[in-house]
């Protein structure tokens, strides 16, 4: 073949993260809307200010059961009818409870938005919470628990939460509850949680997609506008604290062919100035296959299919509000390579702390993180999810748009400092789900902290 030199890029076409239009309905519901031409599948995200922290003592999981029960019947439709009507719109509806609150996510072709939004409004305005449906959801949830325990990455996540957070903090316990707490949940508890924490005045709806020809104001007025409730009281939010004393916990899985790694602690959230530098540095450490971790663990040694470093906001409600992000490294390595892989991982962290990032690494990371934005936000669902994240984390509507400028301004020195502070070698809690009889001794020999073993 005839070789040609590597081409030079053309001129970039400007792109900006879309600016939503903010408003409110008379019932107090906040509405963010964003017209995205060509996006025929409209995404609606509704954030309900019903955090896990608000679950009554001993009823962990009630927020989850309540969120699932929203689509299990209303004053007008039985559970089966409701599901059928939604699917007749070609819609999908998910509801999910997490530390910051509940997210209800609808995706539906624009042509059937009116009907689907009507159903969602009905679910929020008058959920049935029928006893027999709640019983079924509780049973279903109890059935799910062993499946999650069997999954190595979920098992690791559960153990890390238990290790990091104080025993009395909601964050230390499984988000979806335990067998003991879920068993106690009944229809009355679900309704009580709904009545205490779900109301339009503390909720936000985000609507994104091709809204051509849709009178959204009229549509909102006759759907979500019909939902009523009182003003609600602001709730104190306890600060997140964690014990990140360097240590290793092995969750024993005799015979496992791989070890699942989850190495974490908590750190800065999006309200802190360091966030863009932390994003940049974390990407350089473990954002992709050519980042520092995979360059060694995967592409040089072949120990893994891939190891990633990431920061994920746990809960955040403003500057100095005690919010935090989980900072973690995760992946899986073959059992035999567990010791050598952790040894290399720590070497990567130490080298990073000693020598810092290079300008070339920082440049590539900026180009990627900023450059992929138009790809990442091509669909309505991805835009809606990010806008709803901003609402959930009490960030301004133009946060994401400005983040790109801040990333581009972040220098190598700042990115290095941020990632080294985020992943200090002596303040990391390491959870290993694997065969203790094979990995315990090699891991002890590394001296990365006290090692304990718990049953799988």
């Amino acid at each position: 073949m005839e070789f040609h030199p590597q081409p030079t890029p053309g001129t970039a076409r400007p792109w900006a993260f879309p600016e939503p239009e903010r408003g409110a309905l008379p019932n107090g519901l906040t509405v963010l809307r964003c017209h995205r031409p060509g996006q025929q599948v409209v995404a609606v995200e509704i954030f309900l200010d019903a955090p896990l922290e608000a679950e009554p003592e001993g009823l962990d999981g009630v927020a989850t059961i309540m969120s699932r029960a929203l689509s299990e019947g209303t004053d007008k439709h039985s559970a089966e009818e409701f599901a059928a009507e939604l699917e007749r719109c070609g819609a999908t509806l998910d509801a999910h409870a997490d530390h910051p609150g509940i997210r209800v996510s609808l995706e539906v072709p624009a042509s059937r938005l009116a009907k689907a939004l009507g159903l969602v409004a009905e679910a929020l305005r008058a959920p049935a919470f029928a006893e027999s449906e709640i019983e079924r959801l509780v049973g279903n949830r109890l059935d799910e628990i062993p499946h999650e325990r069997a999954n190595p990455s979920r098992r690791a996540a559960k153990q890390l939460s238990k290790e990091l957070f104080p025993a009395d903090a909601r964050m230390s316990r499984p988000r979806l509850g335990t067998e003991e707490t879920v068993r106690r949940i009944d229809a009355a508890a679900v309704r009580a949680f709904f009545e205490a924490h779900v109301r339009p005045s503390t909720a936000t709806a985000v609507v994104v997609g091709d809204l051509t020809g849709i009178d959204l104001d009229a549509l909102l007025a006759e759907t979500l506008g019909d939902w009523s409730g009182d003003a609600g009281q602001p709730r104190p939010v306890p600060p997140i604290t964690a014990d990140d004393t360097g240590r290793v916990v092995i969750v024993d899985r005799p015979g496992a062919v791989q070890t699942q790694l989850l190495i974490g602690r908590i750190g800065a959230d999006r309200h802190e100035r360091v966030w863009p530098a932390q994003v940049l540095g974390t990407y350089c450490l473990g954002g992709t296959l050519t980042s520092r971790l995979d360059r060694v663990l995967r592409e040089e040694k072949g120990y893994t299919y891939g190891v990633r470093a990431f920061a994920q906001v746990l809960r955040s409600s403003g500057p100095d509000s005690g919010g935090a992000a989980m900072l973690a490294i995760s992946g899986s390595v073959d059992t035999e390579s567990t010791g050598p892989a952790l040894d290399d991982l720590w070497k990567v962290l130490r080298t990073l702390a000693a020598e810092g990032l290079t300008d070339a690494e920082r440049e590539t990371a900026v180009q990627n993180l900023v450059g992929v934005a138009p790809l990442k936000f091509e669909t309505a669902a991805s835009v809606a999810a990010t806008l709803a994240d901003q609402v959930e984390q009490h960030l301004p509507d133009d946060y994401q748009a400005h983040l790109y400028a801040r990333l581009a301004e972040t220098g190598t020195v700042e990115a290095t400092a941020a990632v080294v502070n985020a992943f200090p070698v002596d303040r990391l809690v390491t959870v290993l789900v694997g065969d203790a009889s094979q990995i315990e001794e090699p891991v002890r020999a590394l001296g990365i902290g006290e090692v304990s073993v718990v049953p799988g």
Binding site: F3, P7, R154, G371
Partner: protein
């Protein structure tokens, strides 16, 4: 020389258009313009998958796909990844039974780089392929196998059901991940021979979709790909044709460390690309997709014997497709009880067919899935390649949803009657090993902590 076709939107294509071209070396090119977002997707399908592998070398097509990211004539080491990501793009490759695809989504002004990179490896991969990357990627792929199949509950179900559904020696009897023994046995020379055999411009389709200038794009494609020689070393895959019905039930019981009993089954269905396959898709949707499907209503809502119950469809063009039943039991429910209920529902459906409302729901769901797939430039590029490679006509991608909406309730009933029967399935039953003496001091599992996507490739 590129040959153009006019771009005129066909009925039912949602206004999308595509043009087709062919270079002198046989490379087929499909272009589709869309200027809504300043991005362009490049997708390259090679007409080779695990069905082309020979005995003793299962997994080679997928292992080879990894080697395509290890450098080529002008691209050093991991340069392919570094250059695309450094240009603000995203990329990957995947291997299935029937094809191997490679794709980059780029900001528009970096499109030429992606074309240059794909051409470089198509034309000169062997300049860079060495023992070191072979050994390294062999280990990576073995860890991929452990992570995705061997170290998760029910992880090998797909492999087992596939092996039960297609007879020994059939090209689809084994799955793309391959066996550990065959991955160990593959040599550098196998990889070289694989490239020489299957990686040629006349065995590929390139699609470029998005914010593009078609004339400029074609000129770049001609410049970078035009001088890569074609060759005809390719062997056609072994024939995948099988009788329409298995003719007996095949069954395997697995006793393993799984959290609950499970009933899984694969039904032999019509080939992808046929109207009968679309009818079967609708039947499986009514029966087993979503929260209002017949199996969900029966097993999860009413009988309460299952925690989850549903059907999936594995569309295949070169062999019968598979309808995929997956039921995880609730509490102490027995598999026999669930199996009887499933058979009852399938028999009723085969006799009565879907209601008008069920048809409406199933068609609305499949329509939304198509809108999702065609709603991104990368999704559209992949579908255009799929229809070009497997069915010879990329335009079929743009009208696919219309064909699904055209199927009648009677055709859906007939599809179920023809295929969803006990003598046309492979059944896999999981029974958990008895819990040993472990003092269970642990509490519940965590549900939503899976914080990030799996690794690339």
């Amino acid at each position: 020389m590129p040959m153009g076709h006019t771009a005129t939107a066909q009925a039912g294509s949602g206004g999308l258009t595509a043009t087709e071209h062919r270079l002198a070396n046989g490379l087929r090119v499909v272009l589709s313009e869309d200027h809504l977002t300043p991005v362009a997707a490049v997708c390259l399908w090679y007409d080779v998958g695990s069905r082309h592998e020979v005995k003793g070398r299962t997994g080679l097509a997928h292992l080879f796909e990894h080697l395509m990211f290890q450098g080529s004539g002008q691209v050093k080491g991991n340069g392919h990844f570094e250059l695309v990501q450094g240009a603000g793009g995203s990329l990957n490759g995947t291997t299935s039974f029937e094809r191997t695809n490679y794709f980059e989504t780029m900001p528009t002004h970096q499109l030429e780089l992606a074309l240059w990179l794909e051409a470089d490896r198509m034309g000169s991969l062997l300049d860079a392929l060495d023992e070191e990357s072979m050994e390294n990627q062999r280990d990576v792929v073995k860890n991929e196998r452990r992570q995705r199949y061997d170290n998760v509950p029910y992880g090998t179900a797909f492999e087992r059901l596939t092996a039960l559904s297609y007879p020994e020696g059939h090209p689809y009897h084994h799955t793309p991940i391959g066996s550990m023994a065959d991955l160990d046995a593959a040599t550098l020379e196998d990889a070289r021979a694989f490239f020489r055999t299957y990686y040629a411009p006349n065995n590929a389709v390139l699609s470029v979709v998005g914010d593009i200038d078609p004339e400029q794009t074609l000129a770049w494609i001609e410049k970078y790909f035009g001088s890569i020689p074609s060759h005809d070393g390719k062997q056609p895959p072994r024939d995948g044709t099988l009788p329409g019905i298995i003719g007996e039930e095949r069954r395997e019981l697995v006793t393993a460390e799984v959290p609950a009993r499970a009933l899984m089954a694969a039904y032999r269905l019509p080939h992808d690309g046929t109207r009968a396959c679309d009818a079967a898709d609708l039947a499986l949707t009514v029966l087993g997709s979503g929260e209002s499907s017949r199996l969900h209503n029966r097993l999860v809502r009413r009988d309460r014997t299952a925690v989850a119950a549903g059907f999936g469809l594995l569309r295949l063009a070169g062999a019968p497709s598979l309808g995929w039943l997956d039921v995880k039991t609730s509490g102490g429910a027995e598999v026999a009880q669930i199996e009887a209920a499933v058979d009852e529902e399938l028999a009723r459906f085969a006799a009565e067919g879907p209601t008008a409302e069920e048809m409406e729901r199933a068609q609305a769901q499949l329509e939304r899935e198509w809108l999702d797939r065609l709603g991104t430039v990368a999704g559209r590029a992949d579908e255009l390649c799929r229809y070009a490679v497997l069915f010879g006509d990329p335009q079929l991608a743009l009208t696919a949803v219309g064909r699904v909406l055209d199927v009648t309730a009677e055709e859906v009933r007939a599809a179920a009657e023809a295929s969803l029967r006990p003598d046309n399935r492979a059944v896999l039953v999981y029974e958990p090993v008895e819990p040993a003496d472990d003092a269970d001091g642990e509490q519940a599992g965590e549900g939503t902590d899976d914080a990030h996507e799996g690794a690339a490739k």
